[in-house]
Subunit: 141 residues, 3 copies
């Protein structure tokens, strides 16, 4: 069995955003030498997501609005206990990350990410403006 | 290490629906010959889900209504940028799929899917009426 | 390839709650002897979740309120078909579990769970007061 581990660093200048990291994950697969196996890609922070979706900017703006509706940023001190107790106004970011997911597991077939034609892997940031890490772990042979 | 790859095709006549694919996944496990390992099952499209739940039609109707409430179909052109920019009225389907999930990872123990007594694996369709693919990737020994 | 399987039992006295199971999962990793690999942790019931988040009680209360807002408990017989058809008033629990997730997949690096500094793995209960099982499946070498 082969295994490969890499840590990517993402540092978004804004509080929220989506970044297509498919090429970086594909490069990890190449470096691993794995022909048949699985690639785990996960955020190492609980206010960021990894997810697979379609690469269309309008959809990503729709995701942002939708997430803001379901888990609004609110630093009034009345909605979220977490914000008033810790002084970190990011309870909404923890919820948005639950909706979009912590991790994806991707198949590797014949040395390549085995994606459908419109699948891309994204990093979703909900509490940015600082460096954050993403783990890529590959096992297989 | 053994690995096994199979692509299932689902073609639902309606826009939305849930299909129990447990037996098809169990058949892949048998064909793989894997006794101890992991099975990844993922939708290869970003408007469909794979999830594990209880097989009860009332619950599935509840899921449909609930998803429609949280991410309504709306082709008015005012709610979703994706729909007006691409002409594809399926932004809601991308959101519903995020709520239900892209993939599951299932344990294989003693050559069988290691499920709780009421666990079944489902395909969730949110933009059907066309053939769509599901990937089953098994690794283990 | 090595593999390891363990079933944890959780029995919460209340209908809902979150339990940090990181130490129990870390103990499984030690027992497995795996140095490089993957650990799947999943609920074996469709009304409980496994998720990774920050260990802060205020945030967990925020999660509870937020989940109750998105998928309210309601045994009036009008909101959920599942409850009236089966007599089990837990349709909301199936939805809450979808929002928080069935499983996590964790990387094992140098014999340890490869977590970010604030990552912990939690069991989320949405229909408790009875024993429920969690599967830990580890593969690697």
């Amino acid at each position: 069995m082969r295994s490969y581990t890499e840590y990517l660093t993402l540092h978004l200048p804004s509080r929220t955003g989506f970044v297509n990291i498919s090429e970086q994950v594909a490069e990890c697969v190449r470096k691993s030498g794995v022909q048949e196996g699985l690639a785990l890609v996960n955020s190492m922070h609980s206010t960021s997501s990894i997810f697979v979706s379609f690469d269309e900017p309008g959809l990503h703006e729709d995701f942002n609005r939708w997430l803001e509706g379901l888990a609004p940023f609110d630093n009034s001190g009345t909605r979220y206990l977490h914000n008033s107790r810790t002084g970190e106004p990011n309870a909404d970011a923890h919820m948005k990350r639950q909706l979009m997911g912590r991790q994806v597991v991707l198949a590797i077939t014949k040395g390549q990410l085995d994606f459908g034609p419109f699948e891309h892997v994204f990093y979703g940031e909900f509490d940015g403006r600082r460096p954050k890490r993403v783990l890529v772990k590959i096992i297989g042979e």
